[in-house]
């Protein structure tokens, strides 16, 4: 993701959205970049019938939350001022606090809170439309390349 002082926040979010849309799986899940900062990212996606993991409750599968968290954490690493050329997940742990409600949008916010020359440490949280009550939390380590 290119960065520079001549880019406004809106430009940067638009570029990030193009970046996300170039990822087939992120596009398939309908992910949208809501905000991007220095080592932080907010990405959301809509609920959909085909993503349901438990037909009795209509709750989306945990794997969907994993994909959103992983993408959001990766975007936070890429938006870090150190400017890594690319990144890959080393490990990611997700705690599922409660089920995301049927029909509601899920929003993940990630923060790359520490970066060395080789490793980025990230934490993230996922919310649905009841934003006082987190759906899931994640912590991960990512590679720093280039």
């Amino acid at each position: 993701m290119p960065q520079g002082p001549d880019l406004t926040d809106r430009d940067q979010t638009r570029i990030a959205q193009q970046f996300i849309e170039a990822i087939p799986h992120a596009r398939a899940l309908g992910m949208r970049v809501d905000a991007l900062g220095e080592g932080t990212a907010t990405i959301s996606m809509p609920w959909a019938e085909h993503l349901v993991g438990d037909p009795r409750s209509g709750v989306v599968h945990g794997g969907v939350v994993s994909a959103l968290m992983d993408t959001c954490c990766g975007a936070a690493v890429m938006s870090h001022p150190a400017g890594p050329a690319s990144t890959a997940t080393i490990d990611l742990r997700i705690d599922y606090m409660r089920a995301a409600r049927q029909g509601q949008r899920i929003t993940a916010t990630a923060e790359c809170y520490h970066m060395t020359r080789t490793v980025a440490f990230v934490r993230a949280i996922a919310l649905d439309e009841d934003d006082g009550n987190p759906v899931a939390a994640a912590t991960g380590a990512f590679t720093v390349e280039g």
Partner: protein
């Protein structure tokens, strides 16, 4: 005890239809294209390659979230299947998608940790789960995924699950 003289085709069709019912009940599995291969009670999950699974179009590589989802799906189906197997083989239940109460309730994920060992190639992936401990309330499951070589793991994961009650 199982009936030793029960015709083989009946045994196979009972087990295969129980598995098919379990798997077909989850829309997300169908969307990802995940299937299960059965040898006795042992399951192998299969994730056929598809363009929509790609996370890095330049390499190309499968999305890390897809790998995590595939491992989590494998762990959940393994846990539900292990419970279903006991009930089915003892003749206590006949799984039927049309009858809600005849389908096992799925365990809920408490936490799930994925170790990414190799970049996912644009080809089919396989996974097997091992139930490390399954109590009345909680279960711990370990899962491994690979692509071309069983010994060269794509990823491994450990997860804790809340077992369905009642």
């Amino acid at each position: 005890m199982a009936d030793r003289r029960e015709p083989l085709h009946l045994i196979k069709s009972r087990r295969d239809s129980a598995l098919a019912t379990l798997v077909s009940g989850v829309p997300y599995l169908a969307w990802l294209g995940i299937r299960f291969d059965r040898r006795g009670d042992e399951l192998t999950a299969i994730l056929p390659y598809d363009e929509k699974l790609i996370g890095n179009p330049l390499l190309p590589a499968i999305h890390g979230g897809v790998t995590a989802a595939f491992l989590e799906v494998t762990a959940i189906i393994e846990l539900a299947w292990a419970g279903l197997w006991e009930e089915m083989e003892s003749g206590r239940i006949v799984p039927d998608a049309a009858v809600d109460s005849a389908m096992p309730r799925l365990p809920k994920t408490i936490d799930f940790t994925v170790d990414y060992l190799r970049s996912g190639l644009p080809r089919d992936a396989y996974a097997r789960a091992r139930i490390v401990r399954s109590g009345r309330r909680y279960a711990s499951v370990q899962v491994e995924a690979w692509q071309d070589n069983r010994a060269r793991l794509l990823a491994q994961a450990t997860g804790h699950f809340l077992m369905p009650q009642g």
